[in-house]
């Protein structure tokens, strides 16, 4: 989980592809989720209008987020919620820890929060003697394996039931070799029920926070956020500031889109609205920046903050499906992760915007219409200008640009290139040519189109002299 040695996406992806059966399974499983999403979206005649509306609401939020945050804080405080502000990951972790310390709490149960993954909260708390247990089944699985989630909605999608069975046998004492998902889930249910019943603090993420009412909404299918929060004395909810929406009625738009985009369900099983703490109990909301205000200032990339973390762009991404979430070495993987990550650390994440064919499917499934593939293209331009691409590539590109800008040189290079390919195939068909590893080179024609045109076109006759 440490970030000091990062394997570039292309290398990690190549390793992931060594097990073809596993890659095929990963691809087909996520494609199936994409198909469920399509089916669900196509049942809503006004689907495209719904996306457009959600996009406009989010654009409104981004253009007025200062006031909405102030409004949210005021209303949340009126409701009895304690609001904290964290400028970065470190401060977020310190705040969470201090709340636990103040209440003398050593054990905490946690439901899914990609923000806490982004801030590496678990490591921070564990180092300080706090026992943290993730309660989402997928997150619990990867936590027991000491791995990060590989998908924001399906954290253990890179694993097979045999893997889970092994892990549960080792940590929860389930029968060796029993790979029945029903059995394994039931075992986790019992294990986590004990956790819920004994934890005094519960941490959850936030899907939406409503400025108008000071409430926040947490969506789960398992009910784990609720089991944790309603049994604990202290509920800590952590949110990036972009989770704000203006009004309660806007939840109607987002709750229609979120689960349909994520898994094809019409809505998550539970969409819980937390407005006030139970009597004598505490709710804390930690509002986190951690680079978001900077992204807000990058005009070309600020729309990435519209994201509602549905994961649809991952499920549809042909590259993600075949490279796995861990190859993106970032809390949020896939296309959306690739436009968020460079903002956090350009050097470490310079490879991610290039881990795409720019096919554009991500943009089409995005429920809030983020121009994801265009932003990938734009990040490439920024990363090159800032000097984060290999020198050899820059030299090659400069040479290529020079040749292509000059028609005469282009013709000579083209001719000699074709000559070489035809007569000296060893020059190109070798280990240094990544194309040739698993693909044949195109067959070399007798003449280029230009040469053919000169001979065969009447209109070209007069032009021949120009060349």
């Amino acid at each position: 989980m440490s970030s000091n040695k990062t394997i570039p996406h292309s290398e990690a992806a190549a390793i992931f592809n060594k097990n073809e059966e596993r890659v095929n399974w990963h691809d087909e499983t996520l494609w199936f989720v994409r198909e469920k999403r399509d089916k669900s979206a196509h049942q809503i005649p006004e689907w495209e209008l719904l996306r457009e509306t959600a996009s406009q609401i989010k654009l409104n939020v981004l253009s007025n987020i200062h006031d909405y945050l102030v409004e949210f804080e005021t209303n949340a405080q009126k409701n009895g919620i304690i609001v904290h502000w964290a400028a970065n990951a470190e401060e977020h972790n310190v705040i969470v820890h201090s709340i636990l310390e103040k209440n003398n709490i050593k054990q905490m149960v946690k439901s899914k929060s990609m923000l806490t993954e982004e801030c590496h909260l678990n490591d921070y708390l564990t180092e300080r003697g706090i026992d943290v247990i993730d309660s989402d089944l997928g997150e619990r699985i990867v936590q027991l394996r000491n791995e990060p989630p590989s998908h924001i909605v399906l954290p253990a999608i890179h694993l097979k039931k045999e893997d889970v069975s092994e892990t549960f046998h080792e940590h929860l004492g389930t029968e060796k070799g029993n790979i029945d998902p029903q059995y394994l889930t039931e075992s986790a249910r019992h294990h986590l029920r004990d956790v819920f019943l004994t934890r005094k603090a519960a941490l959850t993420g936030v899907n939406f926070a409503v400025a108008e009412t000071g409430e926040f909404v947490v969506c789960t299918n398992e009910g784990n956020a609720d089991m944790g929060a309603h049994l604990a004395d202290v509920h800590i909810a952590c949110m990036g500031f972009e989770k704000l929406i203006p009004k309660r009625e806007h939840l109607g738009v987002f709750l229609r889109l979120l689960a349909r985009s994520a898994t094809g369900q019409p809505i998550t099983t539970f969409s819980s609205h937390f407005k006030k703490p139970r009597e004598g109990k505490e709710i804390h909301v930690v509002i986190v920046d951690n680079g978001r205000s900077e992204q807000l200032g990058r005009e070309e990339f600020r729309n990435s903050l519209k994201c509602i973390r549905c994961g649809a762009c991952m499920n549809t991404c042909p590259v993600y499906r075949r490279s796995g979430g861990h190859s993106y070495h970032n809390a949020v993987a896939g296309p959306i992760g690739s436009i968020l990550a460079p903002n956090l650390d350009m050097k470490k994440n310079a490879d991610l915007p290039f881990a795409s064919t720019l096919c554009g499917s991500c943009t089409n499934v995005c429920p809030v219409k983020i121009d994801i593939h265009d932003q990938l293209y734009k990040w490439r331009q920024v990363l090159v200008k800032e000097g984060y691409t290999p020198k050899a590539k820059t030299i090659a590109m400069k040479t290529m640009a020079a040749v292509l800008a000059n028609p005469m040189v282009f013709e000579i290079v083209g001719k000699s290139g074709r000559f070489a390919m035809k007569n000296l195939p060893g020059l190109v068909n070798n280990k240094l040519n990544k194309w040739y590893d698993q693909r044949e080179m195109p067959e070399v024609p007798e003449e280029s189109f230009k040469e053919w045109y000169k001979k065969n076109s009447k209109s070209a006759k007069g032009k021949n002299d120009e060349q």
Binding site: T53, I57, H66, A87, L159, P181, T185, F196, H230, P266
Partner: protein, 196 residues
């Protein structure tokens, strides 16, 4: 020194777009020609829930006697169901509900497009009550089923609550190889009594 709140807000003010983008009109999204009851039942079935159409609380009591194990702990907040369920638990420690087999509550309304039911702490007795029992049953008036989430929030309006939740089907997970398993942490099953 500036607090984090001040510095975050200052940076946001500086970096957010200078022109305000208008909020969109939600009215066009509300149009619907759904047969709400049929849609409600179809969706509920498709997400692992079950329903029974009843015309009175007496019928619900009969259904409970017939289909639920009343030798186990059954909770309710509805005096009409006191014959089959216990009413005296709403002030107990929520942890003590962990051995509850079943709870019966009444939703404010249901939503046809996703079969969700809106419940708030006022009718839940305790917030954890609809999550911790093994099985869940929710009553909704037939006339209280709205078409879509937009109508749902129109109906909620400025309703006051400390906690409210939409519940759609039983608790579930597919985190192991995308195999659907009902009963992840919350209720293993949901029965909806459509009343009226």
């Amino acid at each position: 020194m500036m607090s984090s709140k001040e510095s975050i807000l200052q940076k946001i003010k500086q970096n957010q777009p200078k022109d305000l983008n208008e909020l969109p009109n939600l009215e066009p999204l509300k149009e619907s020609n759904l047969d709400v009851l049929e849609q409600y039942k179809t969706i509920l079935k498709s997400i692992g829930g079950d329903f029974a159409e009843v015309s009175s609380y007496a019928e619900i009591v009969a259904f409970v006697k017939e289909n639920f194990d009343i030798s186990k702990r059954i909770l309710t907040t509805l005096p009409e169901l006191s014959e089959v369920a216990n009413l005296e638990w709403t002030n107990d420690d929520p942890h003590s509900l962990q051995n509850a087999e079943q709870i019966l509550v009444k939703a404010h309304f249901g939503v046809a497009e996703n079969s969700a039911l809106w419940v708030t702490d006022e009718i839940m007795g305790q917030r954890v009550s609809t999550f911790i029992p093994q099985y869940l049953a929710i009553i909704v008036n037939k006339k209280d089923i709205v078409a879509k989430m937009h109508q749902a929030y129109d109906r909620i309006g400025n309703q006051e609550y400390g906690f409210g939740t939409f519940i759609a089907g039983p608790s579930k997970t597919a985190d192991i190889e995308q195999s659907l398993v009902l009963g992840a942490h919350g209720a293993r099953g949901l029965t909806v009594f459509i009343l009226g």
